[in-house]
């Protein structure tokens, strides 16, 4: 066990730091203040996609710092996998508030799918522009009747000459309002068993017949929508992989170093805010943090956060050693879900009766930003597979318990 980086990596860190200092100035960093209530801000990601950010990203890709797993031919920097270098790059970029790899479902979900199953023309057409944020994507998977049981989806596409005609409805579609394109799962073979009748399709969001209806969340914000399709025409070459193979195609996942970065970053950020709050807020004649019960709860959640962060270091080490993380890689999401809730709930309690004030109310501490975190802790409980789905996966794949009967 050795928690310092070797001279080779320290030299690499110095290179990255010098690059960032040269190409992303203090003035650039100062202009990179994202909306503090946004989820993107809570994760610490600077998500600028303007021209200035795009030109910086292009330079960073040339230098081999971003999208290291993507071939140069498609706009990546094509570097040999090195989890430690990846972490150093992420740390240095974050410290300088420099534009990092764009988060979101385009780079994280569509790009790996294209690289694995796309045609040469599809890769050339989409990968590079997606990586620098010129094309934004939304994901058309969930439907009103297809949640955990996604393969029961019913949005259908029928071939009409050289076009598919799409009819149906998607729901919980994040960023549907901003996205130029959607990658979707649609049913093309209604007579086949449900997993075998699905096709992976790219749909342009400005196509006639698409109706995006925003859904307002409990926070008051709008991050996702319902998307309706009425006779939407999609060129026949908008299919990734073979017709009817969409279920398999959609399983392409992010199997590279990036998946290890930012473990518990959201929880760390909320906790640091909570600690500051507890040290400054007056509660019943003293600092909130001096209340013995609050003090105890504060250390208890901090302990779980520290465990999550150290667990991230352990996963990183396993990855750097080329060892299979196995069970250890399966738990972070469920672990973080419970932790997020307990941190945010404590932040609500630390405010005492002021905790009832709404988001944006001036009399509320930090304009009610912890209420956003509190509500979002319910959001992440559900997004990307509810906690109970996670428990099924952990029990079945991790602990070797019997699969439940599914039809």
């Amino acid at each position: 066990m050795n928690l310092s980086f070797s001279p080779e990596y320290e030299a690499f860190r110095a290179d990255v730091r010098a690059f960032v200092a040269e190409h992303w100035t203090a003035a650039d960093a100062a202009a990179t203040e994202v909306d503090p209530d946004s989820v993107a801000a809570m994760t610490g990601a600077a998500v600028r996609t303007d021209e200035r950010a795009a030109s910086f990203r292009t330079l960073a890709i040339e230098r081999g710092y971003l999208y290291r797993h993507v071939p140069r031919a498609y706009g990546g920097s094509e570097q040999p996998p090195d989890p430690l270098k990846a972490v150093i790059i992420a740390e240095e970029f974050k410290a300088a508030k420099a534009p990092f790899e764009i988060m979101g479902q385009g780079p994280s979900m569509l790009v790996p799918t294209l690289l694995e199953h796309g045609t040469e023309a599809q890769k050339q057409r989409f990968v590079r522009d997606t990586l620098v944020g010129k094309i934004r994507w939304c994901q058309g998977y969930s439907e009103p009747g297809a949640g955990s049981d996604l393969a029961s989806l019913r949005t259908k596409a029928e071939l009409d000459g050289d076009h598919w005609v799409v009819n149906g409805q998607k729901i919980w579609t994040s960023s549907a309002q901003e996205a130029e394109w959607m990658f979707a799962l649609v049913r093309t073979e209604p007579d086949r068993p449900k997993h075998d009748g699905i096709t992976y399709m790219l749909i342009e969001m400005n196509s006639p017949g698409i109706d995006v209806r925003p859904l307002r969340q409990m926070t008051g914000d709008v991050d996702f929508s319902e998307v309706f399709f009425e006779n939407v025409r999609v060129p026949a070459d908008g299919v990734i992989g073979e017709r009817g193979q969409g279920w398999v195609v959609s399983r392409s996942t992010l199997k590279h170093e990036r998946a290890l970065i930012g473990n518990a970053a959201l929880q760390r950020r909320t906790f640091d805010g909570l600690l500051l709050l507890a040290q400054t807020v007056e509660l019943r004649g003293g600092r909130a943090i001096d209340d013995p019960v609050i003090r105890d709860r504060l250390v208890a959640v901090e302990t779980r956060l520290l465990a999550a962060e150290r667990h991230g270091q352990r996963l990183l080490t396993l990855s750097a050693r080329g060892e299979d993380p196995g069970f250890a890689a399966m738990v972070p999401k469920l672990y973080a879900t419970g932790l997020s809730y307990d941190i945010a709930k404590l932040a609500m309690d630390v405010q005492g009766d002021k905790g009832l004030l709404a988001i944006g109310e001036e009399q509320a501490h930090f304009s009610g930003m912890f209420t956003v975190a509190y509500m979002w802790s319910l959001g992440i409980l559900i997004a990307g597979g509810t906690a109970n789905i996670q428990r099924n996966i952990i029990a079945e794949r991790g602990l070797g318990m019997p699969r439940e009967v599914r039809k």
């Binding site: 066990m1 050795n2 928690l3 310092s4 980086f5 070797s6 990596y9 430690l84 972490v87 600690l275 507890a278 040290q279 943090i289 013995p292 003090r295 105890d296 504060l298 250390v299 208890a300 901090e302 302990t303 779980r304 520290l306 465990a307 999550a308 150290r310 667990h311 270091q313 352990r314 990183l316 080490t317 396993l318 750097a320 050693r321 069970f327 250890a328 738990v331 972070p332 469920l334 672990y335 109970n388 996670q390 428990r391 099924n392 952990i394 029990a395 079945e396 991790g398 602990l399 070797g400 318990m401 019997p402 439940e404």
Partner: protein
């Protein structure tokens, strides 16, 4: 950057586990539990041959000169296999001796510990759940000690006791040899009879001062906290494995009960909480020797968190077993008893969270 075990550490864990699997099944554990002193001399001499008591003893004194992490990995395996004996006392005494002022006395004792000739223990805590060196009441005047130590591990078997006490200069550590005048040792019945404790009364008992100040006392306690955390992790993991195997075998309604979602979810939750906790005590053990600013605080956090989890693991695992888990004959209860010891010894979880808040300057 490498937050993982070395090949040597994995080898150490494996060899200890093989030794316990071969030599100390729970039938032997139960025999030791029912014995008079809870100290299986044969088992201990086997461990001595493997160099376990001397892991932390410098090579100059015949030990291996390793780190607390290595000792904690052995504690994890002892927790996993429910191993009885004075290991915790031995390690706490060893690190106490490594921090004393009188190095010639320490060298003699450390050689004896590594060779298996001397069994050493520590007498730190006092009545009222007092484990803080600054609040120690045992007094030393004119070279004799006067006071009571209510929970001294393996005092009845020990050749020497390192006693936290105070004289005119403040707290310090004194060496009291077996049979010293005025020392009364009253073995107590604990819930966990795999780790024995005794009430030690010192009445005009002669002792030798070996350390001034609280450092040696604190180092011994912090090492103990890390070892208890490691023991708790090993024990909790074992019980999760035992329970997983049980629910895959036990059938009701025509299927293994492990097929029911309620059972799967309860175990998945437990395993999910346990997995990252491993890294917490690893780091606490690493910090003890290499990151001084984090050592005391992480020892407190690890002890609090892991012993809380151990309690939860035992509750969930017993529940998942149903009636059989509540019986004397089924082994699960042996670990439940260890969880009780790990949780209470050296102060409870809330106490250590309080300390951690203070240590952070909050």
């Amino acid at each position: 950057m490498d937050f993982g075990l070395s090949e040597e550490q994995v080898l150490l864990k494996d060899s200890v586990r093989r030794y316990f699997e071969g030599e100390c099944p729970t039938s032997r554990v139960r025999t030791v539990m029912e014995g008079s002193d809870g100290h299986d001399v044969g088992l201990w001499s086997g461990l001595t041959e493997m160099g376990i008591p001397g892991l932390l003893v410098p090579e100059a004194q015949g030990g291996s000169g390793l780190d607390l992490l290595d000792a904690a990995l052995v504690a994890e395996e002892m927790g996993w296999a429910c191993i009885p004996g004075p290991y915790l006392a031995c390690v706490m005494a060893t690190v106490g001796l490594l921090a004393v002022d009188d190095t010639s006395v320490a060298a003699r004792l450390l050689s004896g510990i590594a060779a298996g000739d001397i069994l050493a223990t520590v007498a730190l805590g006092e009545d009222g759940d007092e484990w803080d060196a600054d609040r120690v009441q045992t007094r030393v005047e004119g070279g004799v000690l006067r006071g009571t130590k209510p929970l001294v591990p393996y005092a009845a078997s020990a050749d020497v006791v390192l006693v936290a006490a105070r004289d005119a200069e403040g707290p310090g550590l004194w060496l009291v040899e077996r049979g010293a005048g005025g020392m009364t040792i009253a073995p107590l019945e604990g819930s966990d009879m795999t780790r024995r404790v005794a009430r030690v009364t010192l009445a005009e008992t002669p002792g030798t001062k070996i350390a001034s100040g609280r450092r040696a006392i604190d180092r011994a306690r912090d090492a103990g906290l890390v070892l208890l955390a490691a023991d708790a992790y090993g024990g909790a993991q074992r019980c999760v494995e035992m329970t997983r195997d049980y629910v895959l075998t036990r059938e009701q309604f025509g299927q293994p009960i492990g097929a029911f979602q309620a059972v799967k979810h309860q175990l998945a939750d437990l395993a999910t909480q346990l997995e990252p906790a491993l890294s917490l005590w690893w780091y606490a053990a690493h910090a003890y020797d290499h990151i001084p600013e984090d050592a005391a605080r992480y020892a407190a956090l690890a002890k609090a968190h892991l012993t809380d989890l151990y309690d939860r693991a035992m509750r969930d695992c017993t529940e998942l077993h149903g009636g059989i888990g509540f019986t004397w004959e089924y082994d699960l209860q042996l670990w439940f008893r260890r969880a009780i010891f790990d949780r209470a010894f050296l102060g409870d979880a809330a106490h250590h969270r309080q300390r951690a808040a203070d240590l952070a300057g909050w």
